[in-house]
Symmetry: C2
Subunit: 604 residues, 2 copies
């Protein structure tokens, strides 16, 4: 009942087609990840540059322009992937079809980690937007983050279209609020002169302004373009014509992302904003532009909602990737099955779990998570683009030279960015990602080789020869006395013809005599065998008896029918069936023994 | 294998009689609890009195004499119980047979708590004896205590006689060492003059010397007589004539206990010993008497071993009590069964667990545990003695008046002591014991009423009319494709004649066609039914089908045979049988559905 209320009624298969998304809703679902990065992208750049003093912060403009160039390159390259892979062209699929299994698994592992990080970083940043506006909530940021993740999880278990409707309004509200901030703020900035921060007062240089520092600021700034690949994974979710709609949507997404990001970077530079521990850069800008009134709160709430929805976009992408991997045998089969609501429930739950774990480990702090972030996405960007380069070289087709150049530029650009990110952030956390990628690949391959071994073991003989199996079946009912539960088991056993034996372990002659008399009345004509028990061990005597039968008759199944009392409340189980449990545990691994519980349901 | 090596081979029933104890070994097993109390009894008295300044410590002599009087009264009273209850006369049995269920359950609950406390207090004090001698171990006392408890547990799981042999030597060694200390120390004390402590230097009075303080010192000193009841619980473990041997043993025990306790109290008074946090009173006395040489270490090691063995005596008593309660239906039935080694394994394990828990909660500190201690024992003392008083009044018999007076004095004395202990220690922890007693009684009665309800529900009809049960049995094999595991399940189902149906959920027409062709070859002539699945839910369609059968035919068992893959390694289970698990969970509570797993054992 609770499940139904939380996730809604199951949907018929025929409804699946109608779960497709319009461009407006797809933009809300798939682009919130990329667009929301503007909430922390500029701030992370400034946080690195400020180490060289406030004067160095002017470098944020060229660094932001470099990232803007990345957005442009990625947009054009991914449009080619979207057209080439209408079924969904995630990095895993592109790498697998063009480069082979190994690169594909690297891409898959990198992407999986990044989905989890997207959830954790976005939720942490979303909570930061709120605590900037309401500082008293700062101490609760971890708990707020966990609540947010669980909320998104439940929403996603309800199914993708409903989530879309539910999330479209806040996404557009957030884009409007941030757009207003950028437009009003930029216009105002032309009427005011830039603030030159006295470098001696607020900014004390901790490091020299080296090339390495600038590259580091670029590396953390790259977190602003994460999420751009989400649309290419989800082409199938668009309405017909899927590829064209997706390609249009990615252009809109990039335009919004690019203008908001540059606008914020420009305003931060112009107003001489210095990052603070307890207030985000966007919050500072909004206060300067609108004061601490209604519009300020609208910007903060919008930012928060957008970031929460960014986490949501990972919930659309991760289960899809997991199910593709499961279909190829690299993940457990159950990841491939549809849940009630035509969504990949297992993947959603796993993603939510790990994101919560990460949030707790890093105490809900965005800046602590950022060093891990982006590296995974850029590894998969590079593999996607390289895969496409290989594809054009092999497949050729119309305009292949032009397409090769586009994806070639994409591959080189993202490759350089990957090297910069990996080398400047390695010690601050990127090594963890590399380690996890290795572990995940090891896991993928272990799962695949296990399924392969199983398939070989359970494969039917091609020539049609049936595996030799026992043909006779002796039913044994172990009893320790007579009651309705036992009679029920006896009647179940008698419901099919064949040999049945009741066995009884003789511990006490007086008790045995009583059981024999009762059996004559209730045993339904079944033979009762009394087993001796020199060691007082009921279990030992039973096992010995069963093993004897198995040894003597290799062509036999031994079916053990166990009368079991099923209490009305779960905790009452501790008061029952200890012996049945021990017997079952002892018999579980015997090849020709089959166990049957015949439960007797108690009502109180 | 590990179990066998740890607990030894199983014993035959006939060996049970030989597991009886000689007086020498019984004294070691049953009296270590009482005798070992001398290690902390005097110290606890002094710890209370010193609050009123060192001068007040002279009161330790009259308080000790009062406790000696208790020992005398208890010895005489318990001898009468031993003769009257040769089958074992624990407080529970005496209260039950003479006073009724409610007082008996109070006694049982109080005793159970005290058994756990005996283990925890004795082990903590034993560790204190060692850390007095080797101060560097002081920080490890918690871990040392846990190791000691686990060691005793394993010894007890090996069986009672072997434990006896194993423990007799150290017990007598400890009695000899402590005896030597008391004899040499007392003799020496006559040749030296008493030490009068300058009350201004070492002892600053924190409290006035009130009657309440003296009663409090008496209350904590009562911990010295705990364990005197153990022999009366275990009369059955003695050799023939059981009662006579047990009665002789209790006299020896009391003599040893009384003389050691008074000797230590006298010496502590004479030498003006003040209790210290990091060295026990016995250790201080031994150092003064023998210096820090070999004999000193012998006394410390002996004390430690004696205390560890005291914990062991609870391991003999607790499982016995639990099994008596289990036989009366107040504890889970499995507590009443013999383990392999003719001991009550379940009780031993539970006692060990709770003692470890207590030790961890109270950080291995004897003084922190003492306020909880003794109250339980004195409640049960009082109930035993009152029960005996009632018995003589009802039963009469030879010399009943004399016997009435003896137990009457016992009842009054222990009753007064109980009131003193409860009133002076209530706020320091005795309230926890009262609360636990109430909870345990609630539990006992809950268990009994559950078993009673079950017995009524499963009782066979007296007039011999068989409960109406289904007579036909349809076997259903749900399949999702064909492989050796499925063929195995099919062949198992075919091993008994009757109606069999294989069912298949139709998700994909192409796949279905393939399954049908394979089934023609491998299905062994069994009918294959394809179920439609509008909701894409394999589980839902199967459940619907089974429910339909159940509804249509009220006179039928539905046996669901589930082919299940049993992996070679446990963690591989996550990769298999998710669907089978869901199906079983959904069918578990249906009255006429019986589930059968036919496992297919993988080898790699």
């Amino acid at each position: 009942m609770l499940k139904r209320w939380l996730v809604g009624d199951p949907l018929k298969t025929k409804q699946a087609r109608h779960e497709r998304l319009s461009k407006t809703i797809a933009l809300a679902i798939f682009s919130s990840n990329a667009i929301s990065s503007v909430a922390y992208g500029t701030e992370e750049i400034l946080l690195v540059l400020v180490l060289a003093g406030t004067a160095a912060m002017a470098w944020s403009i060229p660094v932001s322009l470099a990232i803007l160039f990345l957005v442009l390159v990625l947009t054009i390259s991914y449009r080619q992937i979207i057209y080439e892979y209408p079924e969904g062209g995630g990095a895993y699929v592109v790498a697998k079809t063009n480069l082979g299994d190994q690169p594909a698994l690297v891409a898959a592992a990198a992407l999986m980690i990044d989905y989890v990080l997207t959830v954790a970083v976005s939720v942490a940043a979303g909570v930061a937007a709120i605590t900037s506006a309401v500082p008293s909530l700062f101490v609760h940021r971890e708990a707020l983050g966990l609540v947010a993740i669980l909320f998104i999880m439940v929403m996603n278990l309800r199914g993708v279209r409903e989530s879309g409707k539910f999330f479209a309004v806040p996404t557009y509200f957030a884009i409007a609020a941030l757009g207003l901030l950028v437009i009003v703020g930029t216009l105002k900035s032309f009427s005011t002169s830039p603030v030159a921060l006295p470098s001696t007062v607020t900014g004390k240089a901790l490091e020299d302004l080296t090339l390495f520092l600038i590259l580091r600021s670029f590396a953390v700034g790259c977190s602003a373009v994460t999420g751009m690949e989400v649309i290419s994974n989800g082409v199938k979710a668009f309405r017909h014509p899927e590829s064209k709609n997706a390609a249009t949507t990615i252009i809109w997404m990039s335009l919004i992302l690019g203008s908001l990001f540059m606008g914020i970077s420009w305003m931060a530079y112009h107003h001489g904003i210095v990052p603070k521990a307890d207030e985000t850069v966007v919050s500072q800008l909004a206060r300067q532009t609108f004061g601490s009134g209604t519009i300020y709160y609208a910007v903060q709430i919008g930012t928060m909602m957008l970031l929460i929805l960014a986490a949501n976009s990972a919930f659309a992408g991760f289960p899809q990737l997991a199910s593709i991997l499961a279909r190829d045998g690299f993940m457990p089969h159950q990841m491939a099955t549809f849940g009630d609501r035509l969504v990949f429930s297992n993947g959603i739950i796993i993603l939510g779990f790990f994101a919560c774990l990460l949030l707790v480990i890093f105490k809900g702090d965005t800046h602590a998570l950022i060093p891990l972030y982006a590296i995974g996405v850029f590894v998969s960007f590079t593999l996607s683009q390289s895969g496409m380069v290989k594809r054009w070289l092999v497949k050729k087709g119309p305009h292949w030279r032009k397409k090769l150049i586009v994806n070639g530029i994409g591959a080189v650009t993202t490759g350089i960015a990957t090297i910069i990110i990996a080398s400047t952030k390695f010690l601050q956390g990127a090594w963890i990602v590399f380690l996890l990628v290795a572990i995940l690949i090891f896991m993928f391959q272990g799962i695949r080789s296990h399924y392969k071994a199983v398939a070989e073991q359970i494969a039917l003989d091609r020539r049609g020869s049936r595996p030799p199996l026992p043909r006779r079946n002796i039913v044994i009912i172990p009893i320790s006395g007579l009651n309705r539960a036992v009679v029920r088991a006896v009647d179940f056993a008698r419901s099919r013809p064949g040999e049945i034996r009741a066995v009884y372990v003789d511990l006490d002659p007086e008790e045995s005599a009583k059981v024999k008399i009762q059996w004559a009345q209730w045993g339904g004509g079944i033979n009762l065998i009394a087993l001796p028990s020199p060691y007082r061990s009921v279990l030992g005597s039973l096992l010995e008896y069963i093993e004897e039968i198995l040894d003597k008759e290799p062509d036999i199944w031994v079916t053990v029918v166990i009368p079991e009392i099923l209490p009305a409340r779960w905790w009452q189980n501790i008061l029952h069936n200890q012996r049945a449990f021990m017997l079952k545990a002892a018999l579980l691994f015997k090849e020709r023994v089959i166990l049957i519980d015949v439960p007797f349901h108690l009502t109180r």
